[in-house]
């Protein structure tokens, strides 16, 4: 287990924890970006170059800004008056811990089906292109359709009512 | 066609850019301390006192009439009259300013003092590089620093100086003529006087006192 993996894992988990636990919502959004960046580096560590750059481009470039815009548009950046956690927060924590316990147990006790160290897959962008256009052309078209629908949907949902109906 | 305006604008700036290296009339910047533009004649910055002749104290035209002090909007002139008199250009003994201060940090170069001065004693200078390190005393000019010769006045405002001199010369001529006429009349009266005086020495005295009384009223 290389040192790089530990550093990156630590960075990502710290970012995720901060994104969830911080009081100021904008700080949460910025911590979220740190988590996304950590994940992108983990992808690069796993030699998934295209996925890593796509992650940076889409998540840090767009989703993080979207989250931040949403926070500002809903006046979330002012520090809330009462506690930041919902009143049934303990139940939430317990369920999350249970989920993690189950997942951890499953991972640790899974049989050694997969080999430890496999050769570094030489993936070029050309292969991804061919795969996208070859085997995955249907999902590509569906995702394109979905993105357009989401684009139009988000705009319509968030559009300001012209007649100002309250 | 979209973008035409942009191309025209770019062409204009390019012409400017190239032109500034080539044609002199495009680049009109004057590198101030090294190159200087001669001030135009009507420039006015801060007032100064004019004096005739060599000695600035004797030739000072100002007679401390304090009109400019009263008229100065920002009140930056301060005059203290002298106790004795000194002869002015026409030879008549006049009061002169013992102290004549102008605070040029307050002066707004409005030239009202020049307009109101009946004796052409104060004019506007073209000197503007007067910055000093000392904020208070440095910009308070006293009589000595304000006094400048008539030749200097001719150098900075030639036409105006010429007119002023012409007017002064004319006044001087009129005053001389009047003085001469008065002298001639006095001489004639002196010549006729002894003949009349012999006839009635007492009468003229009361007449003169009566004449004085009328004049007083």
């Amino acid at each position: 287990m290389s040192i790089v993996f530990y550093v990156l894992a630590g960075l990502t988990v710290a970012g995720a924890l901060a994104a969830v636990a911080l009081k100021n919502t904008v700080h949460c959004a910025l911590a979220l970006t740190v988590a996304f960046a950590g994940l992108a580096l983990l992808f690069l560590e796993l030699d998934a170059q295209f996925a890593g750059f796509a992650q940076i481009l889409i998540y840090i470039g767009a989703v993080a800004i979207l989250v931040v815009f949403a926070i500002l548009l809903t006046r979330g950046s002012e520090t809330p008056k009462d506690t930041v956690y919902s009143n049934k927060w303990l139940l939430g924590l317990v369920t999350a811990a249970a989920v993690f316990a189950v997942l951890g147990w499953a991972v640790l006790h899974s049989t050694e089906a997969l080999p430890h160290e496999t050769a570094k897959p030489a993936v070029t962008v050309m292969d991804i292109g061919n795969a996208l256009m070859g085997r995955y052309v249907l999902p590509l078209e569906i995702v394109a359709l979905l993105l357009t629908a989401a684009l139009i949907g988000a705009v319509i949902v968030a559009m300001h009512e012209k007649e100002g109906a309250r | 066609m979209l973008g035409e305006g942009i191309l025209k604008g770019l062409g204009e700036t390019a012409r400017n850019f190239a032109g500034s290296f080539v044609s002199a009339e495009r680049l009109t910047t004057v590198q101030y301390p090294e190159e200087r533009v001669a001030p135009i004649e009507a420039t006015r910055d801060f007032p100064f006192l004019v004096y005739d002749g060599k000695d600035w104290e004797a030739g000072l035209r100002c007679v401390a009439c304090q009109i400019c002090e009263k008229e100065c909007p920002p009140k930056c002139i301060y005059i203290v009259k002298s106790t004795d008199k000194k002869p002015d250009a026409l030879g008549k003994p006049q009061i002169y300013p013992a102290r004549f201060d102008i605070d040029i940090s307050v002066c707004m170069s409005c030239q009202i003092c020049v307009e109101v001065c009946p004796f052409e004693a104060i004019k506007m200078d073209t000197e503007f590089e007067l910055s000093t390190t000392d904020r208070f005393g440095g910009l308070l000019y006293d009589r000595k620093e304000l006094a400048k010769s008539n030749e200097y006045y001719h150098k900075i405002h030639p036409t105006e100086a010429a007119e002023t001199d012409a007017r002064l010369a004319e006044e001087k001529a009129k005053a001389d003529a009047k003085a001469k006429a008065a002298a001639a009349a006095a001489a004639a009266k002196a010549a006729a006087g002894p003949a009349v005086a012999a006839a009635k020495p007492a009468a003229p005295v009361s007449a003169v006192k009566a004449a004085d009384g009328e004049k007083q009223g």
Partner: protein
């Protein structure tokens, strides 16, 4: 502790943190952030299995992750659109107060 299990554990931890965030936070946007984290944890799993899986040249894991990133971005956009609309309607993003079905 092979590298694969390491990645799987990190992914599980991220998933749990995302879930905890989604369940405990009061602000709707923080719930969406939690969901984003859970989606990312899933992507990490996909790519880990692709990297240490038997046929990396088949690119299945990576393609799955790329499509999942695209879909997650779309979901985030629509989700935030909804949150903004709800805020504009009810003046609050506090989930505990959104308990009335009246329009």
């Amino acid at each position: 502790m092979t590298p694969l299990t390491g990645y799987l554990l990190v992914a599980a931890l991220l998933f749990a943190i995302g879930l905890a965030g989604a369940l405990t936070r009061r602000n709707a946007i923080l719930v969406l952030i939690g969901i984003e984290l859970m989606l990312n944890a899933a992507n990490l799993n996909l790519i880990a299995f692709w990297r240490y899986g038997p046929h990396p040249e088949a690119l299945t894991g990576m393609m799955f992750a790329i499509f999942s990133i695209a879909v997650a971005a779309a979901e985030a956009a629509v989700g935030l659109g909804l949150v903004i609309q709800i805020y504009r309607h009810t003046r609050t993003t506090d989930l505990d107060q959104m308990n009335r079905m009246k329009g």
